[in-house]
Symmetry: C2
Subunit: 194 residues, 2 copies
DNA sequence: ATCGCTGGGTACCGATCGGTACGCAGGGGA
DNA sequence: TCCCCTGCGTACCGATCGGTACCCAGCGAT
C-alpha cells in the first residue's frame, strides 16, 4: 500500500489525499472534481496544475494503491525467515486483517477495473499491470514450497484473496477473513500432500 | 439468470434488452439514457413510461440478472439425482463454463455494488438480497454432504466463485475456470475427510 | 517603491447528464 | 365523419460534469 510519492505543492498534496479517500469511498466516477477541490480547500485549477486530468488523477490513485510486492515479501521473510509456509500464511493473515478493517470497500484496483470496462483505457491497463505484480508476489511465496505446480497454487490463492475481498462487502467481513485463512490452509495442505 | 418478466410495451421490451446489455458491457453509470433510447430506436420518454427512473431501470436489471437459485438447484438435482457431491460439482462446473464465455465481464451484481457504494441505495440493497439467495443455494447444496460445518464450506465456495469471477476479468478466463474447479474439489475433499 | 514571477482562486465555458412538457399520428366507437 | 384516447417522438429543461481563461496576492531582487 506504499504510495509512489512525487513532488507536489502543499495544496496539491491535500488534493491527492482527498482524492484518494473519495475515490475509494465513493468510486472514481462518482467523485466530482469540484467536490474534491472543495473538500481539499482549494480551487479546481489547483487540481489541474498538479494532475493532467481527472483520468490522470485516477491513474495516480490506482498506481499508488497497488500493493508493493517487494516490500511485502521482504517483511514476510523478515517475520518468518527460513519458513516458507509460515511466510505464506503470514501474508494471507495480513490480508485477512486488512479486509476486516472498518471502511474496507474492496480492492481499489478491482473496483477501478469495474468502473473502467474499456481494456484500452490507461487506468484499466494500470490495474492489470499492478495486479500482475500481485500474482507474482504469490508465485514467489509459493515457489519455495515442495509442491508440484506452484503457479496453479499461486493463482488459486490470488483467487481466494479476491473472493474474500468481494464477499467482505456483500456478506460479512468476519466470515470472509476467517474463510480466507481456512480455505488457504486447506488448499495449501492439499497441494503439499500431492 | 431467469429474468423476472413483467408486462411491457414492445418498445419498452426493446429498451429493456438494450439497457441490460449496455449496463453489463459499459457499466450502469456509463450507460446514458439517451444512448439507451437511441440504440433501442425509441425516444427517451418511452423509457420513462416503462420505468420510473434510471435507478428503477437499474434496479430491474439487478433483480433480473440475479441467479434463480431454486431453478438451478432443481436442474442440478435432476442431472445428478441422489448424488449430492456430484450436484455440487455440477453447479461449480456450470459456473466455470459461464465465466469462460467470451464477453464475460464479472458478476453483474458485484459490478453494480461497486458502482453503488451507498448501502442505503435500493440497487445496493437489491444486490445484497439477491446475493444472500446465492449463498443459500450453496448452503442447500452442501447440507446433504457429510461434513461438520456445512455453512463454512458453503461460504468458502461462494468466495471461490466470486474470486474466479473477478480474476477472470483481470487475468485469464481459462486459468480462472480451471482453478475454480480445482480449488473447489480440494476444499470439498478437505471438508469431507475431517 | 517597483518590477516580474510564482501559485493561488473566481467565474465561466461547452458538453452531457437525467428527466419532462407538449404535440402529433393512428385506431376503435358512435 | 367526428371524437377521444392511447402511445409515441421532438425539443427542451435545469443541474452538473470536466476543464479553462483570467485575475490577483505575495514574494525576492533591483
Amino acid at each position: 500500500m506504499a504510495e509512489a510519492e512525487q513532488q507536489r505543492s502543499p495544496a496539491g498534496q491535500r488534493v491527492w489525499e482527498t482524492a484518494c479517500e473519495m475515490f475509494y469511498r465513493e468510486g472514481i466516477h462518482s467523485a466530482g472534481v469540484a467536490e474534491i477541490a472543495e473538500r481539499s480547500g482549494v480551487g479546481k485549477p489547483t487540481i489541474y496544475r498538479n494532475f493532467a486530468s481527472k483520468d490522470g488523477l485516477a491513474l495516480a490513485y490506482v498506481n499508488a494503491k497497488a500493493v508493493s510486492p517487494r516490500a511485502w515479501l521482504e517483511s514476510a521473510r523478515a517475520a518468518c525467515s527460513d519458513d516458507p509456509p509460515a511466510q505464506l500464511r503470514q501474508v494471507i493473515a495480513d490480508i485477512a486483517d486488512q479486509i476486516s478493517e472498518p471502511g474496507f470497500r474492496g480492492c481499489p484496483l478491482v473496483n477501478a477495473s469495474v468502473e473502467f470496462p474499456d481494456r484500452d483505457h490507461p487506468v484499466r491497463a494500470a490495474v492489470e499491470a499492478r495486479k500482475a505484480e500481485y500474482l507474482d508476489l504469490f508465485t514467489e511465496l509459493v515457489t519455495p514450497l515442495p509442491v508440484r505446480d506452484p503457479e496453479s497454487l499461486a493463482y488459486m490463492l490470488q483467487m481466494l484473496v479476491e473472493g474474500a475481498s468481494v464477499t467482505t462487502q456483500i456478506y460479512s467481513p468476519e466470515k470472509s477473513a476467517a474463510a480466507l485463512k481456512d480455505a488457504a490452509d486447506r488448499v495449501i495442505a492439499s497441494y503439499m500432500e500431492r
